[in-house]
């Protein structure tokens, strides 16, 4: 009886329904927690470009984020975008940078996160831009925070999918990220130069000027990936940066 086709089919059907039901139950039950985890992860990355989050718990981070971050989405020209193609509201935190990366630069959406004093939206302290690119083994991404002069790096946070542990994966370490602090994106006449990581480590201080930082020994290709990523994203955000600069200059002229 157990070997009959009917038995096999009925057994398989019941098994499939039971297991499938179990999985959808688990999925539905865990969904709120999962969404919260993903949200927390994104917000943590954004904030860690401007402040040290060590020792802060999940809820504290979310609270801090709510108080200090205002987000908008702009296009390549730097104009704000509020609706997507389907007409629904865009939330900067929900913009998938990886998916946007596959589109042509002019079709992408570019989120901007403004870091301001807690509760005071006008007292902006930093502009945070997401970046995305190719490392040696897989994608790398992060957030770059610029001071209000829109030139000096305030902080960075990087992450990666599969860079070599102990070599390329060092881009996530505080020590490497801090090397960017205080470096300049534009030169004195306002041309985009970006910031490059050099080949090799412990380069002489003479070559480490405003646009160059010390490299990663054994991870030159990852470093070059980071350089390309920064260079291209500063270009993409240049439209927005220029508009902001013009706006602040006009305000200055009025006084």
């Amino acid at each position: 009886m157990q070997q009959s086709n009917t038995y096999v089919i009925v057994f398989s059907a019941i098994l499939t329904i039971v297991l499938g039901g179990l999985l959808s139950l688990a999925n539905q039950g865990l969904k709120p927690m999962q969404q919260k985890s993903v949200e927390l992860d994104t917000k943590k990355k954004i904030l860690s470009a401007v402040t040290d989050l060590k020792g802060k718990k999940g809820n504290e981070i979310l609270e801090l984020y709510g108080q200090t971050i205002e987000s908008i989405v702009v296009n390549l020209d730097g104009d704000p975008v509020e609706k997507d193609e389907k007409g629904s509201d865009i939330e900067a935190e929900k913009v998938n940078i990886a998916k946007n990366f596959k589109k042509a630069p002019e079709d992408r959406m570019y989120p901007v996160f403004k870091y301001h004093k807690a509760g005071d939206k006008d007292a902006v302290e930093a502009y945070i831009f997401p970046v995305y690119g190719k490392g040696l083994w897989g994608p790398i991404w992060g957030f770059i925070a610029l001071e209000t002069d829109l030139n000096t790096i305030k902080g960075t946070s990087f992450d990666h999918k599969s860079e070599t542990p102990g070599l390329g994966s060092r881009i996530t370490s505080t020590e490497v990220r801090n090397r960017y602090n205080g470096k300049k994106v534009f030169d004195d006449s306002g041309n985009l130069v970006s910031i490059s990581m050099l080949k090799g480590e412990n380069n002489s201080p003479n070559v480490l000027d405003d646009h160059h930082i010390d490299g990663l020994s054994g991870a030159t290709l990852t470093a070059y990936g980071v350089n390309d990523m920064l260079d291209s994203y500063f270009k993409y955000y240049q439209g927005y940066i220029n508009k902001l600069k013009n706006a602040t200059e006009k305000v200055a002229l009025l006084y």
Binding site: Q2, L30, S37, P165, G166
Partner: protein, 222 residues
Amino acid sequence: MSTQTIEQAVEKKPAEAILSKRRKKFINDPLSEDNPITVQVLGICSALAVTTQMKPTLTLAISVIFVMIFSNLIISLMRSLVPTRVRIIVQLAVIATLVTLVSEVLMAYQYDMYKELSVFVGLIITNCIVMGRLEAFALANKPWDSVLDAVGNGLGYSWIILAVAFFREIFGSGKIFGWPVFEAMGLENFPINGLMVTPVGAFFILGMIIWVQRNRTGFVEH
């Protein structure tokens, strides 16, 4: 004559101890003499892939033990119902369900770890040890015995990958569970070995563990 047989039947009745000598063997054997990785050489893929650091390795080990215990238990409970013709598919469905559950729970409560392990949680499904134990043991044995067998094999797998991860992390990154050992010992410039973070490093460590173990147990492949 008849009274004798009745007496014998009565004598047999007391239930076997929860951890009788026979059952202890289910746990002890896979730890060393019948280890799934070093002796049966199963599950090598994950032993090479996730063992660059201790923390993800521990998470994977716990996940594998969980999946093994419950898949062994479920299959053992169903063993008289499972049609032999589709038994492999049934085992696969049960394992895949449990692995998906683990992955969902990790995503909800340990998101950082979920990202780090990424594809390797899903790959527990293809870990030969899990299905091997279902096919070889759970289909023919009682639930409790199967659970013990799963615990034994799960621990046997875990201690090997944790040992590999220990050596790879300490020599490859100079850390244990992310804690900088050599720095704490005042050896800040202790040279780390880049080979250890590549899968090749795992082969070396695994080879040495197998060597030491076979030297001790005297196991020879025929």
